[in-house]
Subunit: 575 residues, 2 copies
């Protein structure tokens, strides 16, 4: 982790971290014109400027495991971001314009999360694992006016009709991205932060992130300046991140702006480490040797982490923010054993984590496996979120305005998780119909099925499309996976509905064997299937026991680590 | 701390912690009508409801050192607050009405900070140490529609023209305050939280707190729902308060709503202990035996605390939030020695702490006395505050709209601290002229004089009226006090200007001797004065050395512990 080149930009001694205020903004906030909001301050960009002001020499960002590693202090990094903002403005970017970014975790995409906002534009991070056609659709739909693309993914934007800035991720003179920053630097030096202006409408878009579009075209989720500010504060507060923290980037930033952690990290004046890829040896190296205190990851990444050959007990607890889909109790147990402190959360399509499984003091007396069952639930609303509810699904033909009705707190009745408040997305971009539908009953309808336990904890059961209707009974694929994953030889498992002549549907399980038990079952997968079914029968009602078990080498996953059940369902449809 | 009576209200098992939403509020927020704001969620009441939902059985409030101690869990306490809200509504309180509260730290005033907001009214806490005439003025000026008064202070409201609810602070049947809650309980049981409605305008007033009015009539400071929400989050985040924390009430809640800690505590789902008076034996008992993790206090209270006979080294660090006026380096040193972790802050007249002296990693290598000098400064903007600046005072005849100019970062040029943003007060109630003047240059002008150090840290020098102009030189009374307080025999000191025939003004010091050195100087105060002057000459420029030293038994203080220099100045004017 020895940088080959020293940082090149140094702020002048009298540097100001104060942007221009729009004219006429009074002291505590101001209504500018009718229906136009103007609370200037809840802007997540403010966190970066404050960190640079307080801790100019403190480590802001390290990009270690590349040919040309870089290390930036807050002062230097903030200067780069200022340069980016001016470069974007110089390139013709207007307030409200979308700027697309296609890059793995690296300085460029981290910088864009601040620099694009400083130019009063909207960041549109695009998943690097999409196809050229999918990227083209998003570029077109978002109306992006400029593209910043990592050299590894430049093939995804061939033929783009707007300017493309390629980054070689070198931080060196001659890198086109660095040259682009240089075009901003000349204005930067002259005008500084006071030459830029705060976005005056806190309800303006901060980001436009596209869904993975497993069912139809991806939808563009608009999140706001205000929402990003409050979600980032919520994340920093809930995870206890502060200036002594080091955040490791495992979750891709292109995934919904890294759940607002680009801004939570700067609020905390913490350090961040960017890794281009999810490599368990590299991650373990940093967990053990780089003072990492926090990271985010979907359950599937966490499974890989605790089962990697390098896995060992950590000497200091690390906060593992588990979200993206529901973790199994088994995973929580494994994490706890290795001294991670998992904060089980659910990812619901907008700003990132919005619920948290707050552990109760009384649970401390439970055995780890029992406690893990409680901890694997999704819990309660986050600090800055409100009103996570589980409600009955809409009745046939019911109006979208109909009042929502909560399911009873019985731990059994399955409903849909809905919520509202500051950290709900603003809208689906250019899709008022989809927005209206998602906002049934004046709440955001997540599509996640869950029960409400008597203690008020929400526990996810399934995505509505993942439920298995077997002999008229609703079987939760997640509940089945929870039980199957407790089999000692199972590494990861996914369960989907397979058509059945008698029962309508029956569960089929796809299983990856644990590496250390693979040999034991080599050539005897049918026997393993029987063993697993037996394991299931001891734990699940008959209708929820898998009818079929298929041992596989890998499971189809989205770039963000979610298992693509739609692919599995297509597979079983052909069986 | 054994409660004599069990709590009397129990929430029903199916209790809902969800208030009614105003009609037509969409999902992420809504502009209702022109120039009317409607972000429902940043309401500090939401913190209480969330805590009750997550931790119903957790300790919320303990009121120990009274004849009838009480202990409330979050569920029970939240129920009491709901009862209060209904009782207020039942008594005719309308949205926006002011409800006055005159009480020492106790359940009633803590409950009012939530219950008044739940009734969509505005809490107006009044200082218990004011005179009847002063209270009458505030009641009249605020237009309070109802008064909740502690039995010890009921004489302050005789002749009041609005309903008065007396609390005997007993928590028992027959206590008029408890009877008042009972009038709410009947509606409460029937309608619950969903029978109440969220305040739809987040810019609506949450509180109306009056200044101490040392110069003329007290002014009413209006703070908002949104501001209280963000200030409370800032306080909980900055002080690392969480559900394992216990907050000890030393700072009176009537002082600017206890710097928003009534809400910061509930955001954290922490426990709070209320003490009716500042009694050092009681406070030390709780510091040592009740698991206290956080408390707030003005420097003068902290001085009393570290010099109390009970003072001893704490076994675990306690976060001492020092604000209200600038602490001396000597005090910070004393606090550190006893394992408090002082977060030096400055109190600037609106929501509470808005800056913090963030310690730099490099300071860890300094000797404690040197480090204390750095730590006694006021530092940088708080997490949810922005743009604390030190600017030149207005020129003669300059417009209030003139652009503010920052003083150089030289640690010498004295300017005025100004700031803006979410945690600035909204206005002085019914006083547009004073508001306009306070908001010179679109920033809140604090009246606190300070320098900006080269490292960007703000250090308070003085209130503008406290500066001493000696022979044309500006001497900071605070800087003089800093040096005098380092004399080993000084407990507390205050310095004011005394007219001088030759130099215009010269400093005069009023000193309280440290109890353990009192005897040494008994009958020899003139010799002590010489000793102190000698001490000063070794540390201060000649124009800043005190010309006169007066040993006193006590210093005149406001109810919130600020030394009343105006009284000292009146005194010296007569000499």
């Amino acid at each position: 982790m020895c940088p080959s080149n020293p940082p090149r930009e140094f702020p002048s001694p009298g540097v100001s971290y104060r942007l221009q205020l729009p004219r006429g903004i009074p002291v505590h906030y101001q209504p500018l014109v009718c229906l136009m909001f103007a609370f200037i301050d809840p802007n997540p960009l403010a966190f970066l400027l404050r960190a640079a002001q307080i801790y100019p020499d403190k480590l802001a960002l390290v990009h270690p495991d590349v040919e040309h590693p870089v290390i930036y202090s807050y002062a230097v990094w903030t200067q780069r971001i200022q340069n980016l903002a001016y470069a974007l403005i110089q390139a013709g970017i207007q307030p409200g314009d979308r700027v697309a970014v296609i890059a793995p975790n690296s300085p460029a995409i981290a910088e864009a999360h601040h620099g694009v906002l400083a130019a009063r534009a909207v960041i549109c991070p695009i998943n690097t694992r999409l196809t050229h056609a999918e990227v083209a659709y998003i570029l077109e739909h978002s109306g992006s006016r400029l593209i910043i693309v990592d050299h590894e993914f430049s093939h995804l934007v061939t033929g783009a009709k707007v300017p493309v800035v390629v980054t070689n991720d070198s931080g060196r003179v001659g890198d086109p991205y660095e040259e682009f920053l240089s075009t901003g630097r000349q204005f930067s030096a002259e005008r500084g932060w006071p030459g830029l202006e705060w976005e005056r409408d806190e309800d303006a878009a901060a980001a436009l992130c596209y869904t993975s579009g497993t069912t139809g075209r991806p939808k563009g989720v608009i999140t706001t300046i205000r929402g990003a500010y409050l979600a980032a504060i919520g994340n920093a507060y809930e995870t206890g991140m502060n200036r002594d923290s080091t955040y490791l980037w495992i979750l891709p930033m292109f995934h919904a702006c890294g759940w607002t952690y680009p801004w939570a990290v700067t609020l905390a004046s913490a350090a961040q480490i960017t890794l281009r890829q999810v490599s368990y040896p590299l991650i373990w190296n940093h967990l053990l040797n780089s003072g990492v205190t926090h990271y985010c990851g979907a359950p599937t990444v966490q499974i890989g982490l605790v089962n990697a050959p390098q896995a060992t007990r950590l000497s200091k607890p690390v906060s593992a923010i588990v979200a993206g889909s529901a973790p199994t109790a088994h995973l929580i147990e494994e994490l706890e054993k290795e001294e991670y402190h998992p904060g089980s959360r659910i990812w619901i399509n907008t700003y990132g984590p919005t619920t948290r499984c707050y552990d109760q003091p009384a649970w401390a007396n439970l055995q780890l496996d029992d406690r893990a069952k409680f901890l694997a639930r999704q819990g309660h609303s986050f600090a800055t979120a409100v009103d996570a509810r589980v409600v009955y699904p809409p009745k046939e033909g019911e109006s979208l305005d109909a009042e929502l009705v909560d399911v009873p707190k019985d731990g059994k009745t399955v409903g849909e998780i809905v919520f509202r408040g500051n950290i709900v997305m603003k809208e689906y971009f250019k899709d008022p119909e989809a927005t209206k539908k998602a906002f049934r009953g004046a709440h955001f309808n997540t599509g996640d099925l869950a029960v409400m336990h008597p203690d008020g904890y929400i526990a996810v059961q399934d995505r509505s499309k993942d439920i298995i209707i077997s002999g008229g009974e609703n079987a939760s694929s997640l509940a089945i996976e929870q039980e199957l994953s407790s089999h000692p030889d199972v590494l990861e498992v996914s369960v989907v509905a397979r058509p059945h002549p008698k029962w309508g549907e029956r569960p089929m399980a796809f299983v990856i064997l644990h590496p250390s038990h693979e040999k034991k079952w080599a050539g005897r997968h049918a026997e393993f299937a029987d063993d697993l079914k037996k394991h299931a029968r001891a734990r699940l009602p008959g209708f929820a026991c898998p009818e079929w078990v298929s041992v596989v080498d890998e499971l189809p996953k989205t770039s963000t680590g979610k298992i693509q059940k739609v692919t599995l369902r297509k597979l079983v449809a052909k069986l």
